[in-house]
Subunit: 471 residues, 2 copies
């Protein structure tokens, strides 16, 4: 385990991503943090739309009775609800719940909109805020209010719904790999870890630098449960009234937590270039007024050139702060590439680059090749971060564990994932929770199903599952 | 007045922009309506960022005590607040209000973040949902929950704050003119119509096709009132602790209402091309199977070409619906240009276009010139809509009104704006409200200030004000 990591909250605040708010468990997302979210939104929104899903917007407030229509759902969410009892100076006839998720209100509308097999598949996606009254909160990872997208689709059959929920899981996986430079495991949750009201829950599980695991996104095959609760029926081709099968899937501002804890080092953040609000920072270095004129002219010219080429670039020309302090600040903030310009560089028609991921200096880069070198370095930084996360995950996935004691020990000493045989029973799952202080994360899709013996009960196991300690 | 207009709610629902929700006063924004909002956001967000304002996100829930810190503010908003009294299964120690606007929570944070004159000007913008418990609601124009952006800035002096609030008003004006094809009046509100807690409120007032007026956006110079309430002080250059001067400014999903009611005709919506989710719809026309093959091949080729050129284009190849029914549907939905393709068009290497604004058919457009003609037509549609709104406003701005009776009569018979002398007193303003059933909208910035006599009291008037009946 990496013990040099800074604490998440310290880091998020020092790097100016977020601040605590006066409202219990709620954070303020500051401009530098919000700019990461905007880049996440842009990239993911394109992918969701490419799947044919359109955005819409549904009410924040949901009648309390709606949540109660699906028995598992209310059981799962009731303890976390924030409830509006008064509005417009009066007590409401029926309390309204601030959406903890929008299945109930969206499926109420689906029942008005879906009539025939011709309407299927039917889908919407929503970018919105949700509120869940969590006991313990942590910046970005678990906040009372968070921002997310939630997609909802309706299908003629359970198989189609399952395909769709798997497709959207794959969209998230590709996005996390190619945009966030993360290498999550994907797979199916155990029954006890399923979404409240789902048939099957699939998820993406990222290994962080501190050896703990983060559930970074989920996709649910909801079957017909909600359709029955909200009476969403369609006339089939053979003229029969039939319940639709639903899916829902979402990722949230928690992804920013995944980026922070998935890539950080002892100096601070390392942002993947595709979501770095600033990809390149230019630092002028000079002593005399003459040098200043010369250096600032060159810095302006580099800034203009890089901006015109589409890089997200910042020229830090604050004269109140020394170059050394700037190096420190932009390293903390995780900017992938630093360009340093002094008088000698200009004489030699070169620049000095520093890549954040490896903290490696690249001297004497010919000025004429700068833009191309930066483009290459950004691609290389992405690859480095992705491969580091993948290697980290693979090196910290422990096999050949044969007992609950061994499981506990490996998680105590090494963290990461343990890939173990489990008999599928709630009884053994509870022992994993109570004794190893860990949870079953997923059954890895990439792992072939091979039978074996449960490491706790020695009963038959249908295949291994990934176990670990999660945020 | 245009009496052929469809009712707003009918139109919004028939055109598939929105639907009623089961929550009092809240609507569902459907994909076609939300796509307009996304285009509005994209265009406006660019402009806000070009002014140097960055996006951030603040909590939805605000402690009730925060709202009470600024006396005018709580008086204005208390009657409209939705209040969370319970959460996580327990009664809260202090109720939380769902933000009706975010001055209080944002300025609480400003007091933590602003310390020195070097921190000024300081600014953030937020895209968010807000809730105001309105008595009478109307789709898009006045809903319990709505989506908006709210910008907030802090300045060293009242003059700078005033300049900033005027600058942002101008940004909104340019946006409404060039993107929404609307020609609002801009000016300052009377004291009674000011934002709760503001020194000065500026607004944009659009004349709709039905002769009524819509306040489409506001910008406030808040002076030091909130700064005193939230203790936002900075160390000035001369080392004195000084209160900042604040501004706030916002536009909302109400803009979609302005587009609908500002441009509609008896056939339905007419969308300005810059925010039309579909700018061009292609309708294939055929009878035989042979014709179908030929026509569909051509339609696919046109679709591909137009899409590649960056137009937002739809090919309506639904065979369940007749071309006539499609014409009707896409006219109702306000798509600016319709391309009709039949077998004869293909033989002649031409296409037929129909522009929605003038409902004008353009026959025999050479196929090779199609993309260029569409580009020209979209520009021309924008100009037509803008000029029509401007002319409509100018023709329906009534001058030479000399009494309250004349004011009432002109508003009864013609609607629109009356530009009248008013003595600045609340007493005469109340008579305008009670007898003419109208409100003072703004003092038009474009109108030179010339003294005169109040049409009601005959007392001295410093200049004319625009009066009318508003949504």
């Amino acid at each position: 385990m990496n013990s040099n990591s800074l604490d998440l909250s310290d880091l998020a605040i020092k790097a100016d991503l977020a601040d605590y708010s006066p409202v219990r468990g709620c954070m303020v997302i500051k401009p530098y943090g919000y700019a990461i979210w905007e880049l996440i939104q842009k990239e993911l929104d394109q992918r969701i739309k490419a799947c044919g899903h359109q955005n819409a917007y549904f009410p924040l407030l949901i009648p309390e009775s709606f949540l109660k229509k699906e028995a598992d759902h209310i059981e799962g969410f009731a303890p976390e609800c924030a409830v509006v009892t008064h509005a417009g100076g009066q007590k409401l006839d029926e309390p309204l719940v601030i959406r903890p998720t929008s299945e109930t209100i969206i499926y109420h509308m689906f029942s008005k909109w879906i009539h025939s097999w011709r309407d299927l598949p039917y889908s919407v996606n929503q970018w919105a805020n949700v509120v869940r009254w969590e006991m313990r909160t942590r910046l970005f990872l678990r906040t009372t209010e968070f921002l997310w997208q939630e997609g909802h689709t309706a299908h003629a059959s359970l198989e189609e719904a399952d395909q769709e929920s798997r497709r959207m899981l794959d969209v998230y996986l590709e996005f996390m790999q190619n945009i966030l430079a993360l290498a999550p495991y994907t797979g199916q949750k155990s029954d006890s870890e399923r979404f409240a009201g789902a048939e099957k829950t699939y998820s993406l599980e990222v290994l962080l630098r501190d050896g703990k695991i983060l559930q970074a996104g989920t996709s649910h095959n909801l079957g017909v449960g909600f359709a029955k609760a909200f009476n969403i029926q369609y006339q089939s081709k053979s003229n029969e009234l039939t319940f639709v099968n639903l899916t829902s899937w979402g990722v949230s501002t928690r992804l920013i937590g995944a980026i922070i804890l998935g890539h950080q080092d002892e100096k601070g953040l390392i942002l993947p270039p595709n979501v770095a609000p600033i990809q390149v920072v230019i630092i002028p270095i000079f002593k005399t007024e003459d040098e200043k004129t010369k250096v600032m002219t060159e810095c302006d010219s580099i800034f203009t050139e890089l901006k015109a080429q589409g890089f997200r670039v910042k020229l830090d020309n604050n004269e109140q702060i020394s170059p050394g302090a700037k190096f420190h600040e932009w390293e903390l903030k995780g900017v992938p590439i630093r360009v340093q310009i002094g008088p000698r560089d200009i004489d030699q028609k070169t620049v000095e680059l520093v890549r954040r991921d490896k903290c490696e200096k690249i001297k004497s880069v010919p000025r004429a090749e700068l833009a191309q070198r930066i483009e290459d370095l950004l691609i290389d930084t992405h690859k480095f971060l992705y491969n580091r996360n993948l290697d980290w995950r693979n090196q910290n996935t422990h096999h050949n564990i044969n007992s609950l004691e061994e499981l506990t020990e490996v998680l105590d000493t090494k963290g990461g994932f343990a890939n173990i045989h489990w008999d599928g029973s709630a009884e053994q799952e509870n022992k994993i929770k109570e004794i190893a202080k860990a949870t079953i994360r997923v059954r890895d899709f990439a792992e072939p199903l091979t039978e074996g013996k449960c490491i706790i009960s020695s009963n038959k196991s249908a295949g291994k599952v990934l176990v670990g300690r999660a945020y």
